[in-house]
Amino acid sequence: MKEENVIEVNQLTKTFGDFTAVNTISFEVKKGEIFGFLGANGAGKTTAMKMLIGISKPSSGEATVAGFDVYSQPESIKKNIGYMSQKFALYDDLTVKENITFFGGIYGLPRKKIWEKREQLISELGLENISNKLVGSLPLGWKQKLSFSVSLLHDPKIVFLDEPTGGVDPITRRQFWEMIYKAADQGTTIFVTTHYMDEAEYCDRVSIMVEGKIEALDTPKKLKEQFKVDSMNDVFLKLARIPSPTLPKGKGENTDCN
């Protein structure tokens, strides 16, 4: 299998006034890789991710996502990526089926395809009995699994996950990671943004952002060896200087604070 890069980032920078939120970061993500994008609140990870998914224009530097340029082809990027965040995932007041149909629809899938995918997805997740129930009535873990499947509906090349498993019970969480491994095994690239260090342990490679810069980038194993510690949490503790106590000025409130 040829190792092809689906995300290429070179010297990417975003400034807000005097404040540099993302400072000349560079990295590549390979096809089928599970890439962890870590950092404390306010380190700039959300800003960086917004540039990659085509909803924020970089100040300088280059980046291509799924082969498309972030400056000139943001619309093509959006068609080729999936997105799931812990905060917003599905509509609580729509049923399981309605949610799937709706999200299939906004990605322009033909009706017949949506119908096929919907049945397939419901049976894979074992949701047959509750497919007509409101999503709001489902347990958090099911919602998140469903939400991840929905983000894969249009067979995106890359899925961006924003703190996908925070607060979920340990068993469901592992089922969730199994789904992620499966998707990655089938060639989908997974880009996980998180500040939960135990999520980082599951990634193939992780980058750690501190104050707008990528301070470390390697496999969790090598990072742990490099810093002579047992967990990603300790790697992070060693790397992160005492974080700046307040959110940087000129950024507005909580743009990066989840």
Binding site: N41, I171, R174, A184, K221, P243
Partner: protein, 300 residues
Amino acid sequence: MGISLSNISKSYKKVKAVQDISFKVNPGELFGLIGPDGAGKTTIFRILTTLLIPDKGTATVAGFDVVKDFKAIRKAVGYMPGRFSLYQDLTVEENLTFFATIFGTTIEENYDLIEDIYVQIEPFKDRRAGKLSGGMKQKLALSCALIHKPKVLFLDEPTTGVDPVSRKEFWEMLKRLQKKGITILVSTPYMDEAALCDRIALIQGGEILEIDTPEAIVSQFPKTIYNVGADNMYKLIQSLQQYEHVYSVFPFGEFVHYTDQRDSFEMADLQSYLEKEGLTDINIEVTHPNIEDAFMELAR
């Protein structure tokens, strides 16, 4: 001065939030409620802080009944709800002064108790709370909950959404507070924080799975856990799940935690099975169970 709950149940409309919960927190203890979102942690906190009346059962805090003596409890406890409840448009100092005033005290009077927490945010005392980072908000919220020298401190998910550095500092602060004789009940969804408590209750779906010291819970784990690694994670999980003697398979970071149905088993058997399945770079070794393993075993 401790906390005790016996047979507490509470439902919201049809949903059972907590069911038949009983446990005791000894005076001066740092007790952790460990469980995922929706386990019922917040409901227990609200019952103990007199904000909710239980449907069934009784509970006391510092010797007072949570229903009858709610006024006495409200004077004696400090409470830090989830999502640090601060006034975003008030400065750090104004927030603290306000909470001191409504509890009929002043910052100066109890400064010794909050000193080592507050000094870290004091340089920003004129900044509005809304402009603080998560870690700083957390410290301010803790200072506010402590300002009236409570005997019992309730902290509902104080470390959720806070970066690892701030989490570590926060637990160090709790240890110091405990030394000053304050009973602390803290909840968290992070299993790795369990080890920092004196005793913990593992809770899921409104029911308690186990109550004990973290060490005891881990040592009672009935199986030997094997750390299994290979080149292809997805294939490894699939293969292990199909292994005829499998008891449980859980991905744990870059490895998989595997337990076998048999009491004695040869790693070499598994090794050759996995090789047959086409996996390479296979690595099997015995490892120690942790709280998360214990939790999953209990929740099975």
